[in-house]
Amino acid sequence: MTPLTTASRYARLTWHLSAVSVHRLTEYRMDFLLGAGGLLLRVICQIAVIDMVFRQVPQIAGWRYHEVLFLLGFSLLPRGLDRMFTDQLWILARKLVQNGEFFRYLIRPVHPLFSLLSERFLYPDGFGELLTGIALTWYAAEHLDLSLSAVQWLLAPLLVLCGTLILAALKTLFASLAFWTTSSFPALYAANQLGDFSGYPLDLYHPSLRWLLTWLLPYAFTAYVPASYLLFGHAAMLPWLFVVTAGLVTLALVVWHRGVDRYEMTGS
């Protein structure tokens, strides 16, 4: 099989399995509303806090109200996309290795990672984040009279995609630890929790924390770096964004494969 036919096969599968999920969504409408609505309410609470902050001061760490909203909105785009496609990794971290059910994903004629993720494609909860993110980014951009250059328009979707890949890679990385420790839920949860810092301008934080969020758990590249590029044209970090994305995805896949190999060995 050529790479092209493989890619088109996976694309077709993704499309088909997503359609299955949408059917499930119409079946459990209440669940969908709760999941999507819950994340929506969480964002509204975050906006309320930002509102309260800007009642007191015109700007924080050099960022104005609508710029902070833009950053928050932008941070939701990769997060929503990631949640829609990779949430099954939480289950892997929590119990799939522990209870031995992971073998199911090894005996299907697709890549085990794809097989695992496909169980929850288009998980409805991510819609809430994605739609809120789009609305918020749009609203903030309107108020800022943001006019993007042609290059920025071209890069914007790519930046969201890279952010999604970084989040997915971090999740894969920490979830894969379960192959060694049987449950990696606490580690995944802790790493995920630190992502909460990325919805705000990193200029607020102590330099050591900023360094950690840029180079160790690179959440900075999912929102702060792309948003400062789109808002202020700060492009110095952009090349690093692509390097970090590529590096992290490679690392995650290597760790994943090592983990899967290990799992097979213990199973035999």
Partner: protein
């Protein structure tokens, strides 16, 4: 009373079995405090004159820190466990036991709260006390806080039990818990003190039971009340909500049991 001791022991044992939850709680609380503190420090840095809603920076830092810690202590996993039992159907077994289910849940949740307070809250508190300037409370404050914190546990338990019982109505208990975690925490004053909220929002928050979980106890601790009468008022409102929520939870439980019987037909 003795009948409920085994539940308390079991709750404690299962908690000690899953020690990793301590790490999760600690990281969550530390992150939440960090985000808030950095945000408010930037606000104070950007203003010429000091006070926000009557709080200076060390007092607001103390508030934000203790709010997360109080929230941590109230997170007794009752919502998770009750909804889990409902979903798996284990709740049927609980109905056979000659004890009150809500009370046995409370007995199982209490040691979880206390252990969290000792093993997670204290280290997080010490960490931030080492890093940031805080305001030391008065002894009167501590005393009032102790009474108020006890009442806040009852309110928190009532809310958690109701969320858990929502498992009878929906299978997406995760969604309900996201709603609870954000909305309840917000109106409780866990993120921002009620004194900093704009008028209408503060009015809504004051009318809801949740302010008795965080804002009430911390106002008592930090001495932000008008004389003895004001302090008594805060406690009285808390007591009222604690009783009301207990009654509501009992009512919801009775309704839920009836539903089980119908399904079991």
């Amino acid at each position: 009373m003795n009948r409920y001791t085994p539940f308390a022991t079991a709750g404690l044992q299962s908690l000690l079995q899953y020690r990793s939850t301590f790490l999760i709680s600690a990281v969550t609380a530390t992150t939440a405090v960090g985000v808030q503190v950095f945000l408010w420090r930037a606000v104070y840095a950007g203003r010429e004159s000091g006070l926000l809603g009557g709080y200076d920076l060390p007092t607001l830092t103390t508030y934000v820190l203790l709010a997360q810690i109080l929230g941590l202590v109230q997170a007794n996993r009752v919502d998770e466990e009750v909804s889990g039992e409902v979903q798996r159907g284990d709740i049927a077994v609980s109905l056979l036991r000659p004890v009150s289910y809500p009370l046995s849940r409370f007995a199982a949740g209490l040691p979880v709260s206390l252990t969290n307070a000792a093993l997670v809250a204290v280290p997080v508190l010490l960490l931030y006390a080492f890093l940031l300037p805080l305001t030391a409370p008065t002894w009167t404050g501590v005393l009032l806080f102790a009474c108020s914190a006890a009442l806040s546990l009852v309110i928190g338990f009532g809310v958690n039990l109701l969320v858990g019982l929502a498992g009878f109505v929906t299978t997406n208990i995760w969604g309900v818990r996201v709603v609870k975690d954000s909305v309840v925490a917000f109106f409780a004053g866990q993120v921002v003190p009620l004194a900093l909220m704009p008028g209408p929002l503060a009015a809504v928050a004051h009318a809801l039971p949740f302010q008795g979980m965080i804002d009430g106890p911390l106002r008592l601790l930090l001495g932000r009340y008008d004389g003895l009468l004001g302090a008594a008022g805060i406690l009285a409102v808390q007591l009222g909500w604690a009783l009301a929520l207990t009654a509501l939870a009992a009512y919801a439980w009775r309704g839920a049991v009836r539903r089980v019987e119908v399904l079991g037909g």
